[in-house]
Amino acid sequence: MASVTATRTGAERVRRQPRPVAGFWPTTPALFLLLVFFVAPVVGLLLRSVLDPQPGFSNYAEVFGSTTYLRVFTNTFVVAGLVTLATLLLAFPVAWFLAIAPRRWSSLLFGIIILSMWTNLLTRTYAWMVLLQRTGVINKALMDLGLISAPLPLINNLAGVTIGMTYIMLPFMILPLHSTIRTLDPALCRAAALCGASPLQVFAGVFLPLVASGLGAGILMVFVMSLGYFVTPALLGGTANMMLAELIAQLVQSLLNWGLAGAAAVVLLVVTLTIYAIQLRLFGFGVGHEVE
């Protein structure tokens, strides 16, 4: 028997007449703005790396040939790596806590995270300058406790940059991690435990693989943001461990060496875009996750 009940797969999708360029014009002001004041200046700077002072690759030869500049590259990667590691270690348990703790506690911690994230960057950097300076709160407390006899050098060096940047980057690691952990179904872990897995096995075999995408997104985002950071390293770091963004700024502001600055910018851009391409390929868009 041909039992005929109409298919209930929903309404027919109705589309408007497809003209080749329908609805393009509203994007033109933004497009114009970005082409003229974003694409053109950036491309202009990049071109200077091969045109200034004379056409050729002399700027790149200098950037990659000089130990001074190579030290800046190394230093940039070391700082970004340290910051990523530190934020990861702190953010993972916090994101976990946020996902499963009673609502009252988690929303309080959330409020603190958002307050920190929305507070002016310079205010936060200033706070760490005050805390870390020779006569600052931390050194004073350690000396009062008798743990140290002379103030520790905490500022204008690697330690200062790493602490300050970790503070700034922490929310960018917590939020993507939290949004992944939050979507996990507790029943999954329970089911794994019922199958006889030990807590460690559940963690490594079920939990970690499921949050891998959030972990990856957070790691790449923090790393790439740290690579190009300017303000915090400029204020908390020392001249001995300058980072790439500072170098570019200094080449332009103090040395007026546009060609070299362009070459350094190309290096920074290539690294940044490569990492974003990896992220896009592996995890889709990690940017623009909702901030609660």
Partner: protein
């Protein structure tokens, strides 16, 4: 188990401990600055030897700080309006339009957010040197709109994608012109996205410092630039006072945002 808070066992203590530590790590520096802004010590001793309002008095007596504050506010409000408007139009194009290269365009619109700011700052600085826009109000606004635009577009696009286009179609069939339907029906319906775009655009400009450092002139300095250049010299407690005011503004904006979210119908 691992996701049941009450059944974590001993590990729960570890988790709570780290959460407490990170909470303190994030909150205490901000509280410290607020406290120091009322402390009498020129050298930012903590706890302060005495309490005072003299840093606030110094701040409000200094025309340079006041003019920086006004400059930042003017620029940020202008950027907020321009970025939200341009972003609104672009978002309509990106969500409703059908044209080749739409995804490329979307990626382009979001790129300023992921590009290291220093590259844009140096590039724009060179470009503005030729256009004589460095140190001008227009230059600041243009540069900050470029930085703010991705935030506005993300916020409005999210709202537009959640909005059912049939509702706008219904308004058109009711007799409203397509423009009237957008203004009277669609815009009110996506108002949360618009407010979000406005707040984020404002903050993007208000907090922006890297581009501003390059573009600032002695006559036109935004607040972050003045803080930055002051910090390069010393850690004046006046900055603690400025910072405290900025923290206050942040809290006001957060409350505003959470009020808006609560007012949203289910």
């Amino acid at each position: 188990m691992l996701l049941d808070f009450d059944r974590l066992g001993l590990f729960r203590i570890v988790l709570v401990g780290i959460a407490l530590l990170v909470g303190a790590f994030l909150l205490l520096p901000i509280l410290l600055i607020v406290a120091l802004s009322f402390g009498s010590s020129r050298y930012l001793q903590f706890p302060p030897p005495a309490w005072t309002l003299k840093w606030y008095a110094a701040l409000f007596a200094d025309p340079d700080w006041l003019s920086s504050f006004a400059t930042s506010l003017e620029i940020a409000v202008t950027v907020m309006i321009v970025a939200t408007l341009i972003g609104l139009m672009a978002s309509f194009g990106l969500t409703r339009g059908r044209f080749p290269g739409k995804e490329v365009l979307r990626a382009l619109f979001l790129t300023p957010m992921v590009l290291p700011v220093v590259v844009l700052a140096v590039g724009l600085y060179a470009f503005f040197l030729r256009l004589h826009l460095n140190g001008t109000f227009a230059g600041f606004v243009i540069a900050h709109v470029v930085v703010a635009l991705p935030f506005a577009i993300i916020s409005i696009c999210n709202a537009l994608e959640r909005f059912d286009k049939s509702i706008e179609d219904a308004a058109v069939l009711c007799g409203a012109s397509p423009l009237e339907a957008k203004i009277r029906i669609t815009l009110p319906a996506i108002r949360l996205g618009l407010f979000g775009a406005a707040i984020f655009s404002f903050l993007a400009s208000w907090d922006e410092v890297v581009i501003a450092i390059f573009m600032a002139s002695p006559d036109l300095q935004t607040l972050p630039v003045r803080i930055f250049s002051t910090l390069r010299q010393d850690l004046s407690p006046v900055i603690a006072a400025v910072s405290t005011l900025l923290v206050g503004l942040t809290i006001v904006l957060m409350l505003l945002a959470s009020l808006l979210r609560k007012g949203k119908p289910a």
